[in-house]
């Protein structure tokens, strides 16, 4: 296993007001990292910093080896605009390749094939010509995941990927992500407050809230004080 991402003493925030500080963690190749935290704990700011959309206040975020900046496949939270967007599934998945084009105006054969392969991998080939706005929530998430995989094959960052999905679709989504992690050896960073899923799937857990509260393996987290406290609050709500 090699290290892909290293964060050293990172502070995040807006114009002087610190949202979260003292972040120290690493992501290994093939890792499955859950980033947990309550609303307002700085999760989304951390995502922006990892994606290079927003500079950190201090500290260093370094990509090592295989993954470069702008090479994380990103699955953002859905916006209102997207829900009624007139575009076919194929067009959306292909748009994941747009960063490969450079100044070339259209996709080449290789990129089209990549998009096709990804649609097959995520079992949405039969939807290729369907309109995005007519799909179910779970199908839409698969489309966006396929697009993310077109953009980067090594590491994906998922921002609350099951928001708004029914329990069955959420489960399928988690299983799919898990199989991408295990079978295709894709490094997964998932931002969530779904404790149950973290217990089931995570390898490492980063818990933030104003500062770094915990970073380590899932097993250590579950036996730690903060982990137990969080589990009793968050996990109790929707036991399965």
């Amino acid at each position: 296993m090699s290290t892909l991402l290293k964060c050293e003493n990172v502070s995040l925030g807006y114009e002087g007001s610190v949202v979260t500080k003292g972040l120290n963690f690493t992501v290994e190749s093939g890792d499955y990292l859950f980033i947990l935290g309550e609303n307002g704990s700085g999760k989304s700011t951390l995502i922006k910093a990892l994606l290079g959309l927003k500079p950190q206040l201090s500290g260093e975020i370094n990509f090592v080896g295989e993954v470069k900046k702008n090479e994380i496949g990103y699955l953002p939270q859905q916006t209102m605009v997207q829900r009624d967007f007139p575009a076919s599934v194929k067009e959306i998945v292909q748009s994941g390749c747009v960063n490969r084009c450079g100044i070339r105006p259209f996709y080449n054969k290789e990129e089209k094939k990549l998009a096709k392969d990804m649609m097959e991998r995520l079992e949405i080939t039969h939807l290729a010509n369907r309109c995005y706005r007519e799909l179910s929530g779970g199908q839409q998430q698969r489309v966006l995941l396929a697009r993310a995989l077109c953009a980067a094959r090594k590491m994906i960052l998922l921002d609350e990927p099951v928001t708004g999905l029914d329990p069955k679709a959420s489960n399928e989504m988690y299983e799919l992500i898990d199989s991408l992690n295990k079978k295709d050896n894709i490094t997964v960073i998932m931002v969530s407050h779904d404790m149950n899923a973290a217990v089931k799937y995570a390898e490492h857990i980063l818990h933030i809230g104003g500062k770094q509260k915990f970073f380590g393996t899932k097993e250590d987290y579950l036996s730690s004080k903060i982990g137990k406290a969080f589990l009793s609050v968050m996990g109790g709500e929707d036991d399965d």
Binding site: S95, V98, P105, R147, A152
Partner: protein, 288 residues
């Protein structure tokens, strides 16, 4: 019927009429291309705001007695477009409020300036006619010179070329700005590009349909096409076709019946919108 055709043929003998048709079709083509992007990015009103800014700029140009209005109108409109997009991201004044503010502000100041300027031998009577024709488009479309037509052809060629060259990027930025940014697409740059192109189209379209009706030319074809078609590309192709069709119909009717050009074209666009809405309703019923 034959009378009508004869009449039309007779009119087509005049170069001015031919110029008007060429310019009209080109402007409809350009304005329909970016319609979907503007509607989806919630920028529908930017066209409206900018056209009022262009109106205000024209008033300033008139008062200053500048020979070539474009020298003032174009830069002012482009700058406003850029500023409006910026405020859209800023939180102090929300995007829609900023557009509304700039739009009515420019309109009011423009009219005020035109009233205050007693120059050019204007009487108040033809001032209001003047204002009316800038707002709703006018016969000035029939006074285009060959130079105007060439400028318009070049401008349209550039707009179409830009659109094709950046098609995939425009799609990515329209569909999902944060994803595009995360994968290294400079979405701010493309937003800027979209704003500038829109500003240019609006300034050129002002002579054609008038500054109040430009938005209609931009958003109606897109909205109609979005009712029925399901992929981005087919929506764009369809809205271009709708726009060209409505512009031709509007122009023909306007020439034959002497109705105002701009309003006739917009009326045609509205009619098509209703037809497409009905089609989509029927299609949905059929699916169920």
């Amino acid at each position: 019927m034959t009378e009508k055709i004869d009449k039309l043929m007779e009119y087509l003998q005049f170069p001015a009429v031919r110029y008007a048709i060429i310019v009209g079709l080109l402007i409809s083509l350009c304005s329909s291309l970016l319609g979907v992007t503007l509607v989806m990015k919630r920028f529908s009103f930017i066209g409206d705001g900018l056209s009022h800014v262009a109106f205000g700029a024209m008033a300033i140009a008139t008062v200053l007695n500048v020979t070539d209005n474009m020298l003032i109108i174009m830069p002012v409109t482009v700058v406003s477009a850029v500023l409006l997009l910026r405020t859209g991201q800023n939180t102090r004044i929300k995007g829609d409020a900023a557009v509304a503010m700039i739009s009515v502000g420019a309109l009011a100041l423009g009219y005020l300036l035109m009233n205050l300027a007693p120059k050019n031998g204007r009487t108040s009577a033809n001032l209001s006619a003047d204002v009316c024709s800038t707002l709703f488009g006018s016969t000035s479309i029939l006074t285009l010179s060959q130079k105007d037509v060439i400028t318009c052809v070049v401008m349209s060629a550039i707009v179409v070329a830009v659109f094709f060259f950046f098609y995939t990027k425009i799609f990515a930025v329209t569909f999902d700005e944060s994803f595009a940014k995360a994968t290294g697409i400079r979405s701010d740059l493309y937003n800027l590009l979209i704003a500038v192109v829109i500003a240019v189209i609006i300034v050129f379209a002002m002579n054609f349909v008038g500054s109040l009706l430009i938005s209609a030319l931009i958003i109606f074809p897109a909205l109609s096409a979005m009712r029925v078609f399901k992929s981005f590309r087919s929506v764009i192709v369809c809205s271009v076709i709708i726009s060209l069709f409505c512009a031709s119909m509007g122009l023909l009717l306007a020439i034959l019946e002497g109705t105002p050009v701009g309003s006739t074209i917009v009326a045609a666009d509205i009619a098509v919108f209703f037809i497409f809405s009905i089609i989509s309703m029927v299609a949905r019923r059929g699916e169920k």
